[in-house]
């Protein structure tokens, strides 16, 4: 701000008062959310554009949970689904939505039900016969140091068949009919670690606690 100080009389009659009021209000509104830091965690609320930046006050541990979707091919190969397949708004928005619905609100079945029609109309998912909503626990040190992003443990929160007959089975039974999306009934595994209903398990993977090796076929 270079230049000479201008005399007060060159301002409009109420201009300076208005500027002061506006400046104090704007700065106050931006600074006010800082008080959230001293509130109990469950009572904190974030806002926009006035925020207390909660992402910086979270405890970061060696192990972290991520909720994501896994597509399963006819041969049992498992493939994590890209964020753009799951919804609009970018990776972080999709990640927050799936976490919120599946874990915070415990509505993983709703999420997978809504996801099935989306997958059926997506050409990149033509090879999938099943989808699972999974909570994976990741050892961050292990992942970053070995460059292998594999979950230490996985819990299937919900799953659904896509109604497609695997290619090999279709060849054997030509009369097999494809079911429509409306006929799909999502299955879920409400108890982490417990054996699942038979229809929803991936080959070789024990429900609830899948070993990292079970995801060996998942492309990175």
């Amino acid at each position: 701000m270079s230049g000479d100080v201008i005399h007060a009389e060159t301002w409009g009659p109420r201009e300076r008062k208005w500027v002061r009021l506006f400046a104090v209000t704007a700065l106050g509104a931006v600074l006010l959310p800082v008080r959230q830091n001293w509130r109990a965690a469950e009572r904190r609320t974030d806002g926009f554009p006035f925020s207390y930046y909660p992402m910086f006050s979270k405890r970061r541990r060696q192990y972290a949970n991520v909720v994501y979707a896994v597509g399963i091919l006819a041969d049992g190969t498992r493939r994590r689904l890209r964020y753009s397949v799951l919804g609009a708004g970018g990776l972080n928005q999709v990640r927050r939505q799936i976490y919120r619905v599946a874990l915070t609100e415990e509505r993983a079945e709703d999420y997978v039900t809504a996801l099935v029609p989306r997958l059926l109309t997506n050409p990149t998912c033509d090879d999938l016969v099943r989808v699972e909503i999974v909570r994976g626990e990741f050892d961050l040190d292990e992942c970053l140091l070995t460059h292998q992003i594999e979950a230490a443990t996985e819990t299937v929160l919900a799953s659904a068949d896509l109604g497609r007959v695997p290619a090999t089975a279709a060849e054997l039974t030509p009369a097999a009919e494809l079911v429509t999306a409306e006929e799909l009934i999502p299955t879920s595994v409400p108890t982490p670690g417990a054996p699942s209903p038979g229809t929803s398990s991936a080959p070789g993977a024990e429900r609830g606690q899948a070993a990292p090796a079970d995801l060996a076929g998942a492309p990175q």
Binding site: M1, S2, G3, D4, V5, I6, W11, R20, F22, A23, A26, L27, V30, L31, P33, V34, N37, W38, D46, G47, F48, P49, F50, S51, Y52, Y53, M55, F56, S57, K58, R59, R60, Q62, A64, V66, Y68, R80, L81, R82, Y83, S84, A88, G89, G90, N92, Q93, V94, R96, Q97, R100, V101, A114, G136, F138, L140, D141, C143, L144, L145, I149
Partner: protein, 291 residues
């Protein structure tokens, strides 16, 4: 506030050019995302979590209304950038940008990187930012002398910017790590979880995240540097040179975050966010001389 109290005469062209830069950035930002915004407003209504001014709503507005508001924001952005009808367009544009970005953030994910853009736009919208470098100035033929009324918006923008850096600094030391945040472990884990999320959702974590993860000492350095930059940000308002130094350092920090975490704070990375710290009107003089 210190800067505001002793606001000094500032060329109208500086404020006008800042308006044009921020408006131009906003137009580019929103136009590129028009399709995405149309998709976002069609998200499952159960995922609607209103923030900011959108909290007046209980449920999403009908999609044609949301689309119209998005497009109206684009139009207002164009007029704001050109500096046409600012007495009306300025406040309307500020309100529309605040609404559109709040609505975009009302689907379970708040993009805090847009905070500063909204705040800067609010200030410009109510200031006399079209007394130069604008259609309004061309029409009226005004050539105003330097005046503090062209300086206070820039000082306030700078003050708001420093506040948005200080708050994350406070959140870090007020969080569970306390002052031990400066040791860098939290930042290191933040890099790790962000990389894992990227990979799990089909994106790619930057190579630097893996390459640097072993370097604990480096993260201590990064953490200490970022904390100093954030907590002491308001001191940048006390001195012009210090302010510019701070702006350059913050700009560098965002590029560092981009390299290590792959996070794009677009407004900050573009440099437009920090333009208000500099005598940008000199660019116009350079252009005139070049002719």
């Amino acid at each position: 506030m210190i800067g505001l109290r002793r606001a000094v005469a500032t060329p109208a062209a500086r404020l006008g050019l800042i308006r044009a830069l921020i408006g131009g950035y906003t137009f580019f930002y929103l136009a590129k995302r028009r399709k995405m915004l149309r998709e976002v407003v069609r998200t499952d209504p159960s995922l609607f979590a209103p923030v900011g001014p959108v909290r007046v709503l209980r449920r999403p507005v009908p999609t044609p209304v949301a689309d119209t508001l998005n497009d109206a924001t684009l139009v207002s952005t164009a007029l704001f950038t050109l500096g046409a009808g600012h007495r009306l367009i300025g406040p309307v544009h500020s309100a529309l940008v605040a609404w559109t970005l709040s609505y975009r953030n009302s689907w379970s994910m708040v993009f805090h990187s847009d905070n500063t853009l909204v705040l800067h736009t609010l200030v410009l919208g109510v200031s006399r930012a079209t007394d130069a470098v604008s259609v309004d100035a061309l029409v009226t033929g005004r050539r105003p002398d330097p005046h503090p009324r062209y300086g206070w918006p820039l000082t306030l923008m700078n003050a708001l910017s420093t506040a948005t850096y200080m708050l994350p600094g406070i959140a870090k030391v007020q969080g569970p790590s306390g002052w031990s945040w400066v040791q860098g472990d939290s930042m290191r884990r933040q890099v790790a979880i962000d990389s894992v999320r990227k990979e799990v959702f089909g994106s790619k974590a930057p190579r630097m995240a893996y390459a640097l993860y072993r370097q604990r000492a480096l993260f201590t350095l990064f953490a200490a540097g970022s904390l100093v930059l954030e907590l002491f940000a308001p001191l940048a308002l006390l001195n012009r040179r210090l302010g510019r130094l701070w702006a350059v350092a913050a700009f560098g920090m965002h590029w560092g975050i981009r390299a290590i975490m792959g996070i794009r704070f677009r407004y900050q990375l573009s440099g437009v966010s920090f333009a208000s710290w500099f005598e940008v009107e000199r660019l116009l003089e350079l252009v005139r001389r070049a002719r």
